[in-house]
Amino acid sequence: MGKTIVCQCEDVTQGDLEDAFEQGFRDLESLKRYTGLATGLCQGKCCIAHAARFLAALKGGDEAAADPPRTRPLLQPTPISCFAGPEELSASPASREGQK
């Protein structure tokens, strides 16, 4: 026990962030790659904001130093079968009643 968890998907701790900064990983892209934060099943939803605050604070409140890392699809893990279907279904919109 006794850990402050920053990223709960990859078990990254506050200590890991501090160590990474010490090792010279001082931008969000590197911090992410070195600690693994934001690379797990939630893809950073719960941790990237904290990492940004951590970094900006250590860089003397420099907010520009904490621009987000490049965001890549997908927003949430989704089965391969959702994308393995045939090219096209139809171009017409589905009218789906009772959806509202």
Partner: protein, 381 residues
Amino acid sequence: MRDRADLVIIGGGVVGLSLAYHLARLGFTDVVVLEQGYLCFGASGRNGGGVRQQWSTEENIQLMKESVQMFRRLSSETGYNVWFRQGGYLFLARDAASAQGLEANVKLQNRCGVPTRLISPAEAQRVVPGLAPAGIQVCAYNPTDGVLFPFPAVWGMARAATQLGVAVETFTRVTAIEARGRQIVKVVTDRGAIATNRVVNAAGAWSVQVARLLGVELPNKPYRHEILISEPLKPFLDPMVSDLSDGTYFSQTMRGEICGGVSDPAEPSSMETRSSLRFLERMCRAMVRVVPTLANVRVMRQWAGFYDETPDGQPILGRVDEVDGFIQLHGFGGHGMMLAPIVGKLAAEWILRKADHALFQRYDLGRFKRGEVQKETFSIG
């Protein structure tokens, strides 16, 4: 930042860093590596980490054999685990031409001491559970190929080189190179200038732009190459699987993700780095064709990097005619990760005149003018 150096390396990718690391190990440390982004910004931080010895020319096979040995040592040498796992490579041939190609390659590889075997689709199912055998003619399997985790390989070489005395400057972009006559005098960056007479162009997909700073035209073309990973799952896939019919490849990372890509003949040359829906769909279809049960696995993330391609699929290594002391190390296409250790080592020896390696004549830029090209036919992805 240092304002002078014996040698400046442009590009802090795995190739530039491997050179820096091996120069430093040979005691030559008056070297600055310049990287415009963070470490791992280029292709070296975006690749699939595949390392194979299954090639179609003796030279490439021998080089990759060396690289495999070097990757086995890299973790303990640099103190960073690169997680090089030798789970093998399994190639699938679906047509007669590919099958014959595999047969010929396997003979050559065996002569070079690489234990590749031709196996039937039924046997391949034992190596890859869930493999759909329909339509596969024959497979080639070498258990000593493998995959590694690219980031720590890059960080490890950077840190080891730094500890030996090399300077690695990140977020430092080269904007100009000044020359007097045939001699380089200065490298200019957005953080200041470095006086030097020797420059190595290890700028990967950006090498054309870097060469142009000295008026040298390269035939390389950058192509976007996309890749994806799945949710992390308990280990179930040992080898890298590669389908020769469409250039699909995928393996399981040390974290348990299925990671892979597919080639796209329709991809134009560009510096596009955004992701595409087209790739996501093509890759998902391709994976399900090879292993249908993957349909239930979730895609977690996709991203893109560059293949730095040359006309003959071989890298460009060595001097150029126009300028002295301007050394080229680029054009590694889809296999620069696996070539980097050995090429970095040989280049260090050659630059320091510790040894002469024919590689740096045979694969120089001049070969295109001389018409001496020998195509490597076994590139994937």
